[in-house]
């Protein structure tokens, strides 16, 4: 028995192949199909048939279009006429599509930028970063990007697959001076001399292979060269760093592109690390990033296992193991790594791409809805065409031509919109994208592709639905075409509002989370605290500095510490404490403080006492821990207990959030080690802050004349740590608004269509005595119903999405009904407003006029 191939697929073939060849063509393809079906079964054969279509479709389409320029011109012309004839409707439609496309383009640019990270390196696909893992007995796995400084060289000498390796480390807040210009600089990087050969950071001056050969050489970026030297030639000049080291400038770097994960302005040979208080040998005392360049044709997946246990081979007893991370993955796939602060995340790329698709889909749905809704008005035109002899294919092509033409006109508007919106979007996303990127060929083809598919998607339903009209029926006066497809339209509208609701719930959720964080009790007082940087040489003089500052009447307290709240602190792996009865080791944060820390931050003591200058022994081995540490060690009555190597617990502070609220309060240990104090905190009175600041500045200038006075308020600093989240919130907010706009545009169009179609009915109802509210209800009823259904569908979906998002915070607000009620009420309100404008207008019309209509 002969079995038939997929009918729909065959239909599409028929559309493109001239009728006189049908028999012949299908005979041939079916011959193979039948054979395949007998030998491999129906499924395989059907799939084969579809792939046959998929593979040849581009050629079929281009042939169909290209082979018929005259016809194409005709579609273009009729399309344009139809657009111009219904100006209001077309404008509405194209506005929606233009907004959708503009959003799509913006997100496309953003995604493009995210994906372009680190790809500019010539060796991008051969460079890998080493990542290090440590299994804890709790089952937790710690992931680091940093390794002991001897690893890089060991890798290169042990493995012939590795062409080159380098270490990399950046320091912040280095004091750089040339003549009378001195600034604290971030991005002061250390790397091995081959760094510039491995990575593609071109020098505008100097030789990349020799620039770092001499230990006292320094390479700096163009913008820094301009900052310090203006127009002078910097080569050969000497920079003083931290008032203790001199470096000779041997090269000028082109400014590091913003899409590089390595960001630095200064580069000096790695061995200089030792002048900055770090060991450049060993496997465990100090950690830096390690990068390797593999030889060509080495499969890194195959190579990776060989290096896995290199650390234990050199450093006995270590339980660390290594993996390779491709350079091009670093930006988006580093979220699980502890030592990395990144706001790049593949999650955001996916979310934003989805949003872009959603909004574009919304715009396409509008297009389909409005076109099908208007079909009643066009039914006569279509029927006439059919009577005169248009074939269905031609009608289908005409509709596609019309929608594609509209899509392309919208594209022009969209590009204009993008041009206007790009600066705003840059600010929102913290990026530095320029309009010029649109000139690139692949971007242009991408855009044309998106537009073409938008036109095709938008046109597919009208094309197939409208072209199927029976001319005899229509011309006899049959009506109700608008009704047909009503179910489909309803589904589309509901779908639109489901997506919009999800986006708006997302916005509200992110906003509430930000609010929650702001109000969350951090366990310490962050207000009116100035953070000053304490140069290393001044650490011994910290007491003098503090007492001098405290003499100021505006200053309440002062404190010093090794780190700033919110920032990562030192880490310590603790495996010894009194009464230890498990094999577990504890990762504990380690911060050096002075006695003023307690009063400055208003920490609360749970047990024992805090450090005090009255006990000189506090400087030798006394520690204060937090409650989380007590819990982690399972200690009862911790005061006086011994800890680690010769430390004794003198007090327990109540838990406070040393890190951001993304993290749970971790075990923390405070010590009193003057040498590590690098930050001074000044708590000032809320009254007359400017005066206090200037007197603090004066005191600082007299104490440390050779260092610039730079400070930041702690609460502002903390705000910055949530910038990535805020950014996400703002972007989602903007997109949600746009999505709502597009959805309402569609609703508006539909409402006006419904009102117009029922003009006569309304006139009759009014004559028979219906009131305006009753008619309003009649018109708005359907829409209210659809949106309610949409809300019901959207709530569980958005609740799920919200829960996923909040999971990334250790502390978050509780999801309650209010989260959904507000957006739902808002959307319903806005939708009603949109509908009622039309409904009221129709309801208020004099019935005489509506009865005369048509």
């Amino acid at each position: 028995m002969r079995k038939n191939p997929p009918r729909f697929c065959r239909r599409i073939f028929q559309f493109y192949i001239p009728e006189y060849d049908w028999d012949y063509f299908f005979h041939s393809i079916d011959e193979v199909y039948q054979g395949l079906r007998q030998s491999r079964g129906k499924w395989i054969a059907d799939i084969w048939y579809w792939t046959q279509l998929g593979k040849s479709l581009p050629l079929l389409v281009s042939h169909a279009v290209g082979g018929n320029m005259a016809m194409l011109n005709n579609y273009f012309r009729t399309g344009l006429r139809s657009i111009l004839r219904h100006k209001g409707y077309s404008a509405l439609n194209m506005m929606g599509l233009a907004v959708g496309l503009a959003v799509c383009i913006l997100i496309f640019l953003w995604v493009q930028d995210e994906l372009s990270y680190d790809r500019f390196h010539v060796n991008a696909d051969r460079i890998f970063r080493l990542i290090e893992f440590e299994d804890l007995s709790s089952g937790e796995v710690l992931v680091f990007t940093q390794q002991g400084p001897e690893l890089a060289a060991a890798l290169k000498s042990d493995f012939p697959e590795i062409e080159e390796s380098t270490r990399f480390y950046t320091l912040r807040n280095r004091l750089v001076r040339f003549g009378d210009r001195q600034f604290y600089e971030n991005g002061f990087a250390f790397a091995d001399p081959q760094f510039l050969a491995m990575f593609t950071f071109p020098l505008t001056k100097g030789d990349p292979l020799q620039a770092l050969a001499d230990p006292s050489s320094i390479v700096l970026s163009e913008r820094m060269a301009k900052k310090y030297f203006d127009r002078q030639d910097p080569i050969g000049k000497i920079l003083h760093v931290d008032n203790q080291m001199d470096f000779v400038i041997t090269g000028i770097l082109e400014n590091i592109p913003s899409n590089s994960h390595l960001q630095f302005d200064y580069l000096v040979p790695f061995e200089n690390m030792k002048h900055f208080g770090e060991q450049v040998t060993g496997w465990a005392d100090f950690y830096c990033d390690t990068y390797v360049l593999l030889y060509e044709n080495i499969d890194y997946k195959e190579f990776e296992p060989k290096i896995k246990d290199i650390v234990p081979r050199y450093s006995k007893g270590s339980n660390l193991y290594e993996q390779l991370q491709p350079l091009t993955h670093i930006r988006l796939f580093s979220n699980a790594i502890l030592t990395v602060q990144t706001d790049g995340d593949i999650k955001y790329v996916v979310i934003f791409s989805l949003i872009a698709i959603f909004i574009l889909l919304n715009a396409c749905i509008n297009f389909m809805n409005l076109t099908t809704a208007r079909s009643g008005q066009r039914a006569r035109e279509i029927s006439m065409r059919k009577v005169v002899g248009a074939r269905r294919q031609e009608l289908v092509r005409q509709f596609f031509g019309e929608s594609i033409l509209m899509a392309f006109i919208s594209l022009i508007f969209a590009v204009g919109l993008v041009y206007l919106l790009l600066p705003v979007f840059n600010q929102l996303s913290g990026k530095d994208m320029t309009f010029g990127i649109l000139r690139h060929m692949h971007v242009i083809s991408g855009l044309l592709g998106i537009t073409l598919s938008a036109g095709l998607i938008a046109g597919i339903y009208p094309a197939l639905f409208l072209s199927a009209f029976q001319p005899a029926f229509v011309l006899k006066g049959g009506r109700d075409f608008g009704q047909k497809g009503g179910g489909f339209r309803r589904v589309l509208v509901i779908f639109q509002f489901v997506m919009t609701t999800i986006l708006i719930v997302g916005t509200v959720g992110v906003y509430r989370q930000m609010n929650f964080l702001r109000k969350q009790n951090l366990g310490y007082d962050k207000d009116q605290v100035m953070c000053l940087r304490l140069p290393r040489e001044l650490s011994p003089k910290v007491d003098l500095i503090e007492t001098t500052l405290e003499r100021n009447p505006g200053v309440l307290h002062t404190a010093a510490a090794s780190t700033v709240p919110g920032k990562r602190s030192g880490l310590l792996t603790l495996d010894e404490w009194e009464g230890r009865d498990t094999e577990d080791r504890i990762e504990m944060g380690l911060v050096s403080v002075d006695p003023g820390f307690l009063s400055t931050f208003k920490l609360e003591i749970a047990e024992g006492r805090f450090f005090s200058n009255d006990f000189p022994t506090d400087r030798k081995g006394a520690v204060v821990i937090n409650e989380a540490a007590v819990r982690a060690m399972g200690m009862e009555d911790p005061i006086g207990k011994r800890l680690g190597r010769g430390s004794q617990i003198i007090g327990v502070v109540k838990d406070f959030h040393m890190r951001t609220l993304h993290h749970k309060v971790a075990p923390l240990m405070l010590t009193m080690n003057d040498m590590e104090l690098q930050n001074v905190f000044v708590k000032i009175r809320p009254a007359d802050i400017p005066k206090t600041i200037s007197s603090v500045e004066a005191a600082w200038r007299s104490l440390a004349p050779e260092y610039p006075f730079e400070f930041q308020f702690l609460d502002e600093r903390l705000e910055e740590l949530y910038q990535a989240d805020k950014r996400l919130g703002k972007i989602i907010n903007a997109f949600a608004t746009l999505s709502l706009f597009v959805a309402c545009l569609g609703l508006f169009g539909l409402a006006s269509f419904v009102a117009e179609r029922r003009t006569k009915e309304i006139g009759i109802r009014k004559v028979l005595g219906a009131s305006i509210p009753a008619i309003f209800y009649l018109l708005a009823r359907d829409f209210i119903k659809w949106i309610t259904i949409a809300t019901v569908i959207a709530v569980p979906l958005s609740a799920y999405a919200m829960a996923r998002y909040l999971n990334s915070y250790a502390y978050h607000f509780r999801i309650g009904p209010v989260l959904f009620l507000i957006p739902a009420a808002m959307i319903l309100g806005i939708a009603l407003l949109t509908v009622s404008w039309q409904a009221l207008r129709t309801a208020a019309v004099d019935p005489v006029k509506s009865l005369r209509y048509e």
Binding site: D21, F25, S28, I29, S56, L59
Partner: protein
């Protein structure tokens, strides 16, 4: 002379190579045998149609047979122009490759 793309050239050679009774199924098999690639029917059909329109290929309908459900099959054959185009292109390419070999 008619310049041919690599693909057109290949299709013409395939039509010739299959010989008598060249039609979609066996042309596809021939191409698969030589290139190892699965060509889609639609693509082959369109390419052949284009070549036919340029006069490089002739077609004739076979006798309708019962096996084919009473339908006639369209057979492809190289036309005189088709042969000429193939020869011209071969000469052209030989010349150009020779120059390349001399200078490379």
């Amino acid at each position: 002379m008619e310049l041919l793309t690599k693909q057109e050239e290949m299709f013409l050679l395939a039509v010739f190579g299959v010989g008598k009774n060249a039609y979609l199924v066996n042309i596809r098999e021939y191409l698969k045998k030589h290139t190892g690639k699965e060509w889609a029917f639609g693509s082959i059909y369109i390419t052949l149609e284009k070549l036919r329109k340029r006069g490089l290929i002739k077609t004739h309908l076979g006798k309708p047979s019962a096996r084919q459900g009473g339908k006639a099959i369209k057979y492809y054959k190289l036309s005189e122009q088709g042969f000429q185009a193939l020869r011209d292109n071969k000469h052209l390419q030989d010349r150009m490759w020779k120059e390349f070999a001399e200078h490379a």
